[in-house]
Assembly symmetry: C2
Homo-oligomer: 421 residues x 2
């Protein structure tokens, strides 16, 4: 595994040209797209258009406009390309990336807020059952969003280790809520098997796709999922704090009832009636006024991922992470791999354990290589296949091995922890 190997792979990479569609800083190797995706170049022009033409020129009329325009003529409101249907429009595009029908996904709010809505919806559909089953060490916000409902007396949290989940599915479980790909280890759950097991026990299933949607094949309808949420700012490259998305299987649309009953989820928001009447389907997941700047940036990211295609992205993801693993195994054989060895059993990332993970991560950053540290001892490298090259992976492995071999990490400036990491 040499630099020449890496370059040959890059030369043969069918996705190579897409790297130019992103703005990537000079002198940086970015292996943290699973935390914040890179900036698509097209986002700059699109946001300028939204600000200047849609907000600045068309002002309030853009809610109903027939699309970006500044000719002052179009304002018929008769279609759904104005801002008012932006959550549905972006949702439909995301749906195509996660195996859902266009009307099953909506883009809005945050993963956390969408979790609350869907946990609430599941509880409302499961009278007599209050248990939300998840696993210890799941991404914190997934576990925390149960806490608020627990305090209200509406839910009860139960955690079971991955190999004990099926045994924990009893008649009290209203909802099984898991993250498809684990944020820290990259381990991937079997969505088909676990969904089936939960439904056999009378539970509903909510999948958090934050670490898989946009990088790996996901088939929500194919595995008969009930609910899902996912993140807009990781593999979808929607920008910092981009709107998230929520999925509800079509078979639940009629009965869907969620607690955040805001005006944008009303059947007729502009009738301004005193009483809430839910909009059809996933539209009723909307609460407040959608953030248009965020949705516009998210749409650009989603369009780009859709153009590249999930299958090609997944294939390159596996090749990249396998190449990196081989390079690290060669050069730093003692570094403990935490992620599954089988690329089909993990997400688009590799994690390693080291007592000095924090300092190593800082030493890498000082060399322009941005990975991620996760408390207490995990080094995490994400391989966003849309823009990471094999040369990136090679150079990161080389530098990582060098930092470990020379104990370069063993310096006060790398070991001093900042308040927020």
């Amino acid at each position: 595994m040499s630099l020449e190997d890496a370059r040959l792979r890059d030369a043969a990479d069918p996705l190579r040209a897409y790297r130019q569609r992103f703005h990537l800083p000079d002198g940086v190797i970015y292996l943290d797209g699973n935390s914040l995706g890179a900036l698509p170049r097209a986002t700059l022009a699109r946001l300028e258009q939204v600000m200047r033409a849609e907000w600045g020129e068309r002002l309030i009329r853009s809610w109903n406009d027939t699309g970006p325009n500044d000719d002052g003529a179009k304002d018929d409101g008769a279609n759904d390309t104005g801002w008012i249907r932006y959550p549905q429009r972006v949702g439909a595009k995301i749906a195509a990336l996660v195996g859902a029908a266009p009307d099953e996904v909506i883009a809005c709010d945050t993963v956390s807020v969408n979790l609350f809505k869907l946990i609430g919806a599941a509880l409302a559909m499961q009278p007599g059952r209050k248990v939300i089953l998840s696993e210890p060490g799941n991404f914190p916000t997934d576990l925390y969003m149960i806490a608020g409902l627990e305090k209200q007396g509406l839910a009860q949290r139960r955690l079971a280790a991955p190999d004990a989940i099926e045994a924990a599915l009893d008649g009290e479980v209203a909802l099984l809520m898991l993250t498809h790909v684990h944020y820290k280890s990259g381990r991937m759950h079997d969505m088909v098997r676990l969904t089936q097991a939960a439904q056999d026990a009378g539970a509903l299933v909510l999948w958090d796709l934050s670490h898989s949607g946009g990088a790996l094949p996901v088939d929500l309808d194919g595995c008969n999922a009930d609910f899902a949420v996912g993140c807009g700012y990781k593999y979808l490259n929607g920008g910092p704090g981009a709107p998230a998305y929520a999925f509800v299987a079509a078979r639940h649309h009629a009965a869907l009832s969620q607690p955040l009953t805001g005006w944008m989820g009303h059947a007729q928001p502009f009738a301004f009636s005193d009483d809430y009447r839910p909009a059809p389907g996933v539209d009723r997941l909307l609460a407040g006024t959608p953030g248009i700047l965020g949705l516009a940036a998210l749409e650009v990211g989603v369009d780009l991922i859709a153009e590249i295609g999930i299958d090609r992205l997944a294939q390159k993801s596996r090749q990249l992470s396998e190449f990196f693993r081989a390079c690290v195994t060669d050069r730093a054989p003692d570094l403990e791999l935490v992620s599954p060895r089988d690329p089909l059993a993990r997400g688009s990332q590799l994690s390693f354990r080291h007592d000095e993970a924090y300092a190593i991560c800082q030493a890498l950053i000082a060399r322009g290589i941005i990975g991620d540290f996760r408390d207490p001892d995990i080094l995490r490298f994400g391989f966003a296949p849309a823009y990471v090259s094999f040369e990136d992976a090679f150079m990161a492995a080389e530098n990582l091995a060098h930092i470990i071999a020379t104990r370069e990490w063993d310096a006060p400036r790398f070991k001093a922890r900042s308040a927020v990491t």
Copy 2:
């Protein structure tokens, strides 16, 4: 009241120069800043900076950066000017506009979602009381957000007309929730008197400042308010669907408990522990990852309003709406004013009733005058004092009177309602 009068007033207007700080379309008179505020010119450059330098160049490091920079050198995370404290930073700036202490306000999510958090917080502080008291015809989302909690069995809605609110404050009322300035009529509630009355009855008080914050004096601490929410995209000019804000009086910070317990409201989000432990004060109102593009745009709008100053804005608002009222009274004496005649008893808007309000609004739009129609028969004109001129007000009144006198509105193209208005 002539065009010359209007121009003399503009010439003498101390805020006149601020109009140039906004991008306003040619040929348009915009009297709908109470629905969507205009674009501050500085927003374009700031958003480009956020995208290009902070997201594009600094990537994940911007969460902890010491501010906008692209020199690759700063990454100490030791202060609070990175993205991670953006909700608090913008919240503190908004606090100064609504009579609150800097640590009492946070900018995040939407008005609807913040209402849910604070209604939930109020209920948690009021064991044995479940009634949320509001008024019929309040802005819909305020009423709707009670519905979700009602369905969960946690709240009970009670509505009382404005003159019956104090009589409806009994020992069952957990929270009085009102909008300071009514979205449709512009009528302003007496925050001091109603807050006192509610607290005398053992209730807490939540004020929705969506139609007053940023245009009129509000003194949350001065009136001893418990909670408040407000909108970022109206008088604060934060852009379509901008983040909203939430206020909690400092005396409630220690006991504050809200149901949307997400990771960003955790005391140590990056410790990734399984159990929720709330961050101090209003920080615990955060749920998911804050939307940075939206916050950045909001900050520009807030900075501009703060620079102009609420007192000057309020003074001009009253002069503008009085001038418009006089012009309309002269020219269309039969048009029924719905807003209070006393400018100190209303917000920065004037509303009129007319059976053909919808068609009149469309006819005005065709003439480049953008006001607002509100079901079923209200014509609403907002006077955002930061950028509306007396000439704008004069020309709007002239055209309004002309459209009514000539029945210009009586044409199929103005009467046909679009699906969304």
